[in-house]
Amino acid sequence: MPSEVLVVEGLNVWLSGKHVVKNVSFKVPDRTVFALMGPSGSGKSTLLRALNRLLDIYEEAEVRGRVLLEGVDIYSPGVDPIWVRRRVGMVFQHPNPFPHLSIYDNVAIGPRLNRMVKSKRELDELVRWALEKAYLWDEVKDRLHMPAAKLSGGQKQRLSIARALALKPRVLLMDEPTANLDPVATEKIEELIAELKREIPIILVTHSPEQAARVADYTAFLYYGELVEVGPTGKIFTQPENPLTERYLLRRI
């Protein structure tokens, strides 16, 4: 059994003909946090959306290359993107629970759509499990049927995490999950990431090298669509091999 849950090989993405991810390859070992860092516009978010075939919903996007999820190439012809997405959870830059659904329904939506549970009790348990995992249960257990729109920003983001966890995914993708949060909420999310990685690998997109240094085991530096350097976080930050990486870490680019 390979210890890499996700393997990316020669991945390319074009958006409306523009080459935004250029021949990127890397491996994500199980139970680690893998950070994709780079300046804005470097293609990190696009790359992330190629890993759960979310780019399929955009007509203008074209993907080439291989992404192996536990050995299965998610872009091979027989694979249904829905099969992929229910095994890969995703958390977005904007805390985005569905505002018209209750807290409970926001967590339950994935299991319901994917017919993952057989009874109401099973669903209740799954929702509770996901909310506990996302450090949210204690704050919302008495008001599960309140609309999600009333939660604070940090709570909303943890609810989005619970929504993704309820699918029992094999990988969790996080697209700058703290970009719209205050420092206190950010700290809480980072604690949560450290806790969650004990069970599943997390791919974290961030534009902040500090965040990568704080939470990631591996870090990849992406610059204008190219993977400049990838390796253990400690090594990237202390002995970068590529001068571009060094300049980025020194805030020169």
């Binding site: 829905i82 229910r86 759509l113």
Partner: protein, 319 residues
Amino acid sequence: MGLRERLLPRLRSRDDRVFFLVHLPVPVIVFMLLASMLAVILYMSLPILEREGLRVFTSNVWRPSDDPAREEYGLLAAIYGTVYTSVIAVLVAAPLAVSLAVAIEELVPRRLRGAVEVLVDLMAATPTIVYGVWGLTYLAPLMKTVLNTLHEHLGWIPFFSKPTLTGLSYGTAGVLLGIMVVPYAAAVIREAYSMIPWHLREAVYSVGATRLEAIRVLLGSVRPSIVAALVLAMGRAMGETVAVSLVIGNSLNIDVALGSPGTTVSSLIASKFKAAAYYEYMMSALFAGGLALFLIGLAVNTLGILYIRRWEEEMHGAA
């Protein structure tokens, strides 16, 4: 902040004050226009209201007479017809408008979108009288076949309990109105649907939704706009005159059967107006119909606004 500060613009210079004073007639005229419209309709309905009281709205009778003492008018059938046909219209228009809006946003290929948009615009701009001529010539005979077939096989259902001789009926009027209000409702729904943030759309797909499942969830998030669209559609349907009056059969008849002829307030006004000048109270009765039309419209819009308010409070009010 006082009412004065909230109501009036901040004028920082003499130039601003001049500009404001020059435009002061605008709010004055708009207020006076609306107020005088209501006043005129109310004033003109007074004779019949004084004579018959609220019975003019609750009885179904139309008895003109050369002797004013024997005249009697009741608008119930027209009020019933207005509400009934516009409810049918909304029921017909709702699935069509939602589908049309979603299809333009989700299914129509980008290069064909312009053509479909032109069609929808044209649909809204087509004069109502043209809908009426078409309804009378083509829709009524078609509805006659449909309603009579339904009557034959499902006659035990009250809605299909009567056959139609001409096709001129509540059912035909309702369906025609439904067709006419689709573009307005679709435009409102489409506007709201296209404003759904893209990250929300991504979120639905990221939990493994199919296209259809995603559309269902996203439509749920714009529910107030759908309600607003249907309220708008219902208002237009209730106010419509000539197209309805051509296909409804113009008879004072209260019946749930879709095949039976009926009338609406506005088609009653249109059809009786010419004769009204020869009687003492008929004109006043027609204005009372106008008053009823206005009040029903107000009620529908108020209910719609209350629903949307409640929804928004539930969503964003204090926890």
